[in-house]
Amino acid sequence: MKRWGLIAVVVLLVAWGWLRAFAWFDPLSACRIHIDVELLEGDRGAIRSAIDVVRREDPLVYRALCRWVDRIQEERQCDAGDPQADRRVRGGAGIPLDVLDPAIRRAREAPGCYVRGSRVIVLRRPPDGGGGPALVRERAEALKRLAGYSQAFWIDHGR
């Protein structure tokens, strides 16, 4: 009996570690959001801190985040268009993004974006690799906004 108890504890610990290692895991809120980061450059801790800010500041939005987002990916930037759609870019000309499509530049500078049709939020990797409270705040605000986009998409999609 004692042996089985020990095995159960070990299994629970391994399961807990597994669920938490690559994700935000909050069993009390039945919330698990997978976090994808670059193997060498990424920092899940900074993303977890931003989610924690959302959880503390805005429980309603946090619930929406848990319900409508299942993955947060850290990428170099958000791309809202393909600059190569312009022949001049494919020809090697260095053309400012604003000339091509201002939305592409704005998306690249945005702290994050939501991919419609998915439950995925993309967060921009800090350009200089920096972190700190300002980054956490910026990401928390982005998560609040982007969780709303996902919620709106899926509620609208279900109609």
Binding site: E75, D79, A80, R106, A107, C113, G117, S118, V120, H157
Partner: protein, 153 residues
């Protein structure tokens, strides 16, 4: 049932689950089956599946085109470096095409590359004339889908 048979059935069941999980996209409702080749570069096939799922929900018309014109997706960077995709114009124009799609740059670009290479498959199936500018149309297609699906402000 003998023990040996039970073990064989168990192994078969595991194989079926693994193949279904990693190597094929099945959407019974849309009658859409697309093979996905094993990926050698670490990024497992779930990114391709996530891209197809995103298209299905976010742009059903593009998803339908993929189902009609694409039979298999190769996520390995066998062409176009790590960042892009490829369609081989020498393919049999009558069958559903095989396309190469890199998943290196995440979900948004994977979706865009699927749409771009599907556009080439459509060109091939429609027998576009020699000298036709194959790339212009398809770059515009991937640009369009990115603009439609990425919401940032």
């Amino acid at each position: 049932m003998t023990r040996r048979r039970a073990v064989a059935l168990g192994i078969l069941a595991i194989l079926v689950v693994l193949v279904a999980r990693y190597f094929v996209w099945v959407d019974v409702g849309a009658r859409c089956v697309i093979g996905i080749r094993p990926s050698l570069v670490g990024y497992d096939n779930s990114t391709v599946k996530r891209a197809l799922e995103t298209l299905r929900n976010g742009s059903p018309e593009d998803y339908r085109k993929v189902c009609v014109h694409v039979g298999s997706i190769n996520p390995n960077p066998s062409c176009g470096g790590f960042g892009g995709g490829c369609f081989w114009h020498g393919q049999n124009a009558r069958g559903r095409a095989s396309i190469d799609v890199s998943t290196e740059h995440g979900l948004i670009w994977t979706v865009a590359i699927v749409v771009h290479e599907t556009c080439h498959a459509i060109q091939s199936h429609e027998g576009r004339p020699p000298g036709f500018d194959y790339e212009d149309e398809c770059y515009n297609e991937d640009h369009r889908i990115m603009r439609a699906l990425v919401q940032f402000e």
